[in-house]
Symmetry: C2
Subunit: 322 residues, 2 copies
């Protein structure tokens, strides 16, 4: 079996060359630009790791992995337009570097290119792969819409929030795992366990992301401490605190999250998160999803030795050493 690093290198080698034609220049430069920003390529490598659970790597997996990476970058471009985000991976976002129409179109063409990659897969897998990919792609759009909707609402329930992060970010992780399984010739039950491993791990990761934004070591995360609080993002910490706060604190939170941010606001909100044990509660919630993920990996019917890599990957992800 090949390591994460080896698989990542193999994937980079296969996709290093320019993926798009030269003309129209502006359109394809924008598409190449976002791909050049790097990133850890976790999603495509997960396709490959899931696939090698079942033996030697099926070369079709590289097409699936590339399609997933293209799809992921398509969502980044369009999300950044919607969020009016100026920076991505310490560089200007595509619509800042180029312009909004070009960014919009570059996203579109990357989604089409993802389908083009999938269409290189052997015909006997094609229908099943497309079905999974289409379902996932629709869900990711739905998750983004829910995220947009929630910004405008004063109250969001924890269940709604978890549904949103599941759709927006975690089903794609499940999809990566299941694609690898499909191309490994796995049956429906095994596919489903791997899908659920990925999806629950994705949710746990997202919850951890909320936690680290507020309480993480800024040197390790590379983020501004309390960035979500400044941006009035209704994370699970906020929603838990809001649900449990007394009237005064609740009113403060609602007011604080509808106005401008300052350093004092960050400290005050953080102290409320602590006061209502939201930090502990969120830690337990993450652990619950992580254990569900591990349960599904245990239930996956492949030999134990082959699964060690994914167990290790999951554990590392939860320590954010990755």
């Amino acid at each position: 079996m090949q390591s994460f690093r080896e698989l990542s290198r193999l994937f980079e080698e296969r996709t290093f060359a320019q993926q798009f034609p030269e003309k129209p220049e502006r359109l394809y430069q924008a598409a190449e630009y976002i791909l050049s920003l790097g990133g850890k390529k976790i999603r495509p490598v997960l396709v490959l790791m899931a696939n090698q659970l079942f033996g030697n790597l099926n070369s079709n997996s590289f097409y699936a992995a590339n399609a997933i990476e293209l799809f992921h970058n398509f969502t980044l471009i369009h999300d950044d337009i919607m969020d009016r985000a100026p920076v991505r991976r310490s560089k200007p976002t595509v619509h800042k570097k180029f312009d909004e129409p070009t960014a919009l179109l570059a996203g579109d063409v990357m989604l089409v290119k993802a389908y083009e990659e999938l269409n290189k897969i052997d015909i006997n897998f094609l229908h099943e792969i497309f079905e999974l990919f289409n379902k996932t792609a629709k869900e990711v759009c739905e998750g983004q819409q829910l995220d947009l909707d929630f910004e405008k609402r004063e109250t969001v329930s924890m269940d709604e929030y978890l549904e949103m992060i599941s759709l927006k970010t975690s089903v794609l992780v499940g999809c990566c795992l299941q694609m690898g399984a499909i191309l490994g010739g796995a049956g429906k039950g095994t596919q489903q366990h791997l899908y659920n491993f990925g999806k629950n791990l994705g949710i746990a990761f997202q919850i951890q992301d909320d936690y680290l934004d507020a309480f993480g070591d800024t040197e390790k995360t590379g983020k501004t401490a309390g960035g979500d609080i400044l941006a009035n993002k209704k994370t699970c910490l906020y929603l838990h605190a809001l649900e449990n706060a007394d009237k005064t604190d609740r009113n403060y939170l609602i007011k604080a999250y509808s106005g401008e941010g300052d350093a004092d606001k960050i400290n005050k909100v953080l102290s409320l998160f602590k006061k209502y044990n939201s930090d502990e509660w969120v830690g337990e919630l993450k652990q619950k999803y992580y254990e569900t993920a591990i349960h599904h990996l245990n239930e996956t019917a492949v030999i134990s030795k082959n699964k060690e890599q994914l167990f290790h990957f999951a554990a590392q992800l939860m320590q954010r050493e990755f």
Copy 2:
């Protein structure tokens, strides 16, 4: 064989019911909204007409037809965002009725839904259909990018312009015809002639559209006379006049097309189009593409009787009685 009207009714019946889930409400309301604005459904009906050249309608054609219609509407939503267009088919555009992020996402989800429809097609056609659709979808994005690029450039050659309209609007017409042919079991040569029939007819139609915007009977076209001139759109009339104008007229045209519009500008530009015989030249150009289209339909190896419908359709389209 079934008439255009019958095929249009059959298509409407099959796609009348709500195509999207109920939630998230805002996302799918936006998608249903653009579909509810009507339109002549020329593209999906062309898939069906091309298919019945080869005998009874293959029921897979309805999936292909629906995919094409969804794709077309996806491009309308995104183009309207890029062009900041407030009105489409006499109604507010999607981003005006909802908001830009919702419109962007609704477009995305409609493109995914188009692929979902294609994935219902029999497995033995799947790879070929996807290949054609992906190629076309990429070209349409490229055409839109060229259109955006041309807006910012002072000079555009006639060849560049024809390439742009071909990609932006006409390859999709070719794709409709070829999809019908593929699902009718046609060989590559026959597919190609039908594709070229559609593509050239599409170009002829687009050239006619430029002509009618300037010189058409506003009662028949339902458009503002000289709308393209007011909007500084570099149509083939403009490009021909510019190429042939003397220095004074050329300077006037360039200046007029970089500023605001008024009624006097329309009249002056129209008189220059006449002075340099751009109206006649454009009429001949349209005729050239129309004849190329007809040539390819003649070369299509199906019995003549079956082709009558498409000959009739093409002739009507050129008279804009449709």
